[in-house]
Assembly symmetry: C2
Homo-oligomer: 349 residues x 2
């Protein structure tokens, strides 16, 4: 389908099962039995097989296994370049949970410059993955899901919802995360708390805004439009610009809640340029905890319970493999507030 210029692979001295069988003087069936720890094998035969495996450094050909088992043992993880390290940590969490079920996790990374989604989904389908996790910010269409569904490959989306029957979603409790963060400002004494967030292109953003609003309302603070800055992307420059606008407003906030560490990083840049100090002049909080530790000063942030994510992903996939017709599920993962001293009592000016 494409004009590939494959190189031919050199000598293929690869050891196979039959080599192990011969060496151990048994059949391949017996080798299989010891490899998969099922069925009866005499101590004696087992010993010989194990020795042969070790001697030849034998590792089974996954393609062949996949072919006969009608199952690759692979969970695909679709990620996108340049979204900080949160997805890396989520991916690690999925790996840990997947291993316990005998699954491997393979990552395919979309590039920023391209719309790689379809390409990568096709690659995954080619691999006949047994399940797919989609981590953050990937652009999907129904057709892509149709393909996946036709092969009954379970799909779990993390931190993004996509309304397609049978596609399970994992969401972080961002309404609560935002609420808690804003409450920290309130409890520290802040009464004018600004919100810097991205356009609600996805559910997450709306939830963070909702949490912010609920915290204000709960504390009988007015929702003021000029305290709410909605920017087009998470890029730091937009956080900076939003902060600059806040600095120029007639009625400045004392607390700045950002729905992303990157936005907070930008806000800090604006404060830096303006000669304002954190937390002396302004208190601030980020979100996602990907960058906040390295900023000047390190700032408070909100992080999902990452350990949990992997477990939930894998269990959702497992359940749907068993029963593809399960109704769509949405699971919520708790968030944790990380404190670094960037929220203190406001200065009375």
């Amino acid at each position: 389908m494409s004009s590939m210029t494959y190189w031919k692979r050199g000598s293929l001295l690869s050891i196979k099962m039959i080599d192990i069988a011969n060496e151990a003087d048994v059949s391949t069936a017996t080798v299989g039995r010891v490899l998969h720890e099922k069925g009866y094998v005499s101590q004696d035969a087992r010993k010989r097989v194990e020795a042969a495996v070790k001697k030849f450094n034998y590792i089974p050909n996954a393609a062949a296994r996949s072919l006969t088992q009608k199952k690759s043992g692979i969970i695909g993880s679709l990620v996108i370049e340049n979204v900080g390290n949160l997805y890396q940590r989520i991916n690690s969490s999925v790996m840990t949970a997947a291993e316990k079920q005998g699954y491997h996790v393979v990552m395919l990374q979309g590039r920023n410059k391209y719309r790689d989604e379809e390409l990568l989904i096709n690659q995954f389908i080619g691999m006949r993955i047994d399940g797919l996790v989609v981590i953050t910010n990937i652009y999907f269409t129904d057709e892509l899901f149709d393909k996946l569904k036709a092969l009954s490959i379970p799909v779990v989306m993390v931190e993004r919802t996509y309304d397609y029957p049978g596609v399970d979603n994992i969401l972080f409790l961002d309404e609560k995360g935002a609420y808690d963060a804003v409450m920290k400002f309130y409890k520290a004494g802040h009464r004018r708390i600004a919100f810097i967030g991205r356009e609600p292109f996805a559910h997450v953003e709306q939830m963070r805004l909702d949490g912010y609003k609920r915290a204000l309302t709960y504390n009988k603070l007015a929702l003021e439009d000029d305290l709410i800055k909605i920017v087009p992307s998470y890029a730091a420059e937009f956080g900076k610009k939003a902060m600059q606008e806040l600095l120029f407003s007639s009625h400045m906030p004392t607390g700045i809640f950002c729905t992303a560490d990157t936005l907070a990083a930008g806000a800090l840049q604006a404060l830096y340029e303006a000669g304002k100090k954190v937390p002396d002049d302004f208190s601030i909080s980020g979100y996602d905890n990907i960058l906040s530790k390295q900023l000047s000063p390190p700032i408070d942030s909100v992080e999902p319970d990452l350990e949990k994510v992997g477990e939930v992903v894998v269990s959702l996939i497992g359940q749907r493999i068993e029963n593809p017709h399960l109704e769509t599920r949405i699971k919520y993962i708790d968030t944790v507030s990380v404190s670094r001293g960037s929220i203190t009592a406001p200065n009375n000016k």
Copy 2:
């Protein structure tokens, strides 16, 4: 070998070649011919095959192809969690170059908490990858390379050298990168330029230190031990600590060259706490350009020519597939200085 609790996969309605062949009323051989654009196929048959492929959304089973071709068409990319986004960008670059050769890139990510290297290499070997790229900070042993070598899987290490015959290395011109960065300080008027870097656990670090020294020497500046801070890791906290020491020294530097953005981030934290401004009080430069844009203020950094990396990786692998006995090669990739105004003339105090 492990006690897996695989779930059984449900109905496998997966379309296969024979289904396409039947639909198009040809043989599987003909389907193969049109799929791979080789051999003669009549316009008529080709049309029907293409229609059938489209109709069924047919995607060949990679495992089966891999089995018959004795070649997976996969380049493995071994990365490690939590090293910022440089590896993500390198990986993208490799993808772009690999695609042109008909290869796919599959990433396996090592977790921080574990020594995953062996596990992941085994997984790659199981997949019978045709080549392996190792990107940054992975701990290797000769045994691991022995395994890879036994299967004649070409290995390219990026940004790290490992002295094993046949393992090719890609290094960034870090001696020059560091030299250039330090020269920027000099040209701006700095005469006391500090170095904050990691222990030379790998070649890269030594090169960065060498570049620093060469720049000083070239400009007839003395190498002063108390201006050179060697810390145990790239973590921001060490950059901070080193900067604090520099602030307390009797003869403070005016320029701070850090061999990592993370170290620079830490140095900025120290300056922030001390109430010092950049570039008014100190000029500073980071390295790797992973974080520098988001710091307060954004700082100068040094970045490798990322586009090039992928091309070189893939060509090295290709050449070694053709000829596994090539002698070990080391390729150098140029670095580029990124300016953001964090280096200016020093204040005369």
